[in-house]
Subunit: 214 residues, 2 copies
Amino acid sequence: MSPPSAAAESTTVWAELRHAEPSDVPFIRRMIYQMAEFERLTHLFSATDTSLLSTLFPSPPLPHFFSFTPLVLYLSSTSPPVPSSQTLSITQFSLSSPVVDPDEADFGSPLGDGRRIAGFVICFPNYSTFLAKPGLYIEDIFVREPWRRMGFGKFMLSSVAKKAAELGMGRVEWCVLDWNVNAIEFYKGMGAEVFQEWRICRLTGPSLEKYKDE
Amino acid sequence: MSPPSAAAESTTVWAELRHAEPSDVPFIRRMIYQMAEFERLTHLFSATDTSLLSTLFPSPPLPHFFSFTPLVLYLSSTSPPVPSSQTLSITQFSLSSPVVDPDEADFGSPLGDGRRIAGFVICFPNYSTFLAKPGLYIEDIFVREPWRRMGFGKFMLSSVAKKAAELGMGRVEWCVLDWNVNAIEFYKGMGAEVFQEWRICRLTGPSLEKYKDE
């Protein structure tokens, strides 16, 4: 019998943040829905695989980071990923114990190679007139529930920020809900400034459609 | 002698919101600086004509509203504008009295045709994952001081919103400072929702550059 205080065996997980392929769209759609549930905004959710596919994978394709850019986080506990032209970043995590993932069947790689999808990022260029430079806006950064608080969010945000800095962009920006104190502390720890004075304004639905008739 | 209660003679001004040309860049740069003064953010201003030109007018050019899109507001009190492929919208204003514009010499049309530049808009596409649709983000909308409170801002925002709706975009969004109560009332009057819960996060300068080394 092992003593009750024995350290749990650590588990190695390889993480790859890679540009999404069209085959990743159903996984992205399910994660967007999970995110809408977390943000209490499911009433605003209307994405379908078809609409995501046509808007995120236009034909002809646009260069990564010069238009809407979806990325997915693939994890593998069996073998390190083989880098490809779609790879943004690869790293290795040592977790204190294996993770129980109740949605494993829904997020397994379509390639049947034991990999699973645990998160995603969608970003696109924005523009600062004060800097006269493009920046990168992160519309979504999401890690599925069983994989949170292990460093995967930090890995994704760091990888994207590194790329933006390498591309000479002046800023990386995103939004957070003011009641999401865990996220705010996490972002501040990453070096981000959180602006208190700015408010987002939006025309949408009938309030936008009415301008068609003007 | 006319009675003291006689209505002042009204002045006609034609307004054209048109896609900017490279020759408009010096005017745009001066207006960005005026905007930075108004927002008390001149310490963040570092745009030059060269940096604006290279980032707003890439070669080869990208289609309007599919990337960074600068628009300028031209006014003429002598003759209606002749629509061109650069024209987004034209309208006619009847002002109660002629406007004294102390910066007229700095904002006269380079074509020497009596037109002047009174405002600008810079916008670009953003993306909503919940809608799986592009939207339009207005980075800046600005009217020079002597021309405010006459409807030019409404004309510019309406014209851009109309175009976004026609392009099938799901939202038009922008930001406002929470102390700018005049702007907030104006935007609400235009049908916009102002979100109180979202906060903008930003990595910039050294906080962004450090990710290059990760």
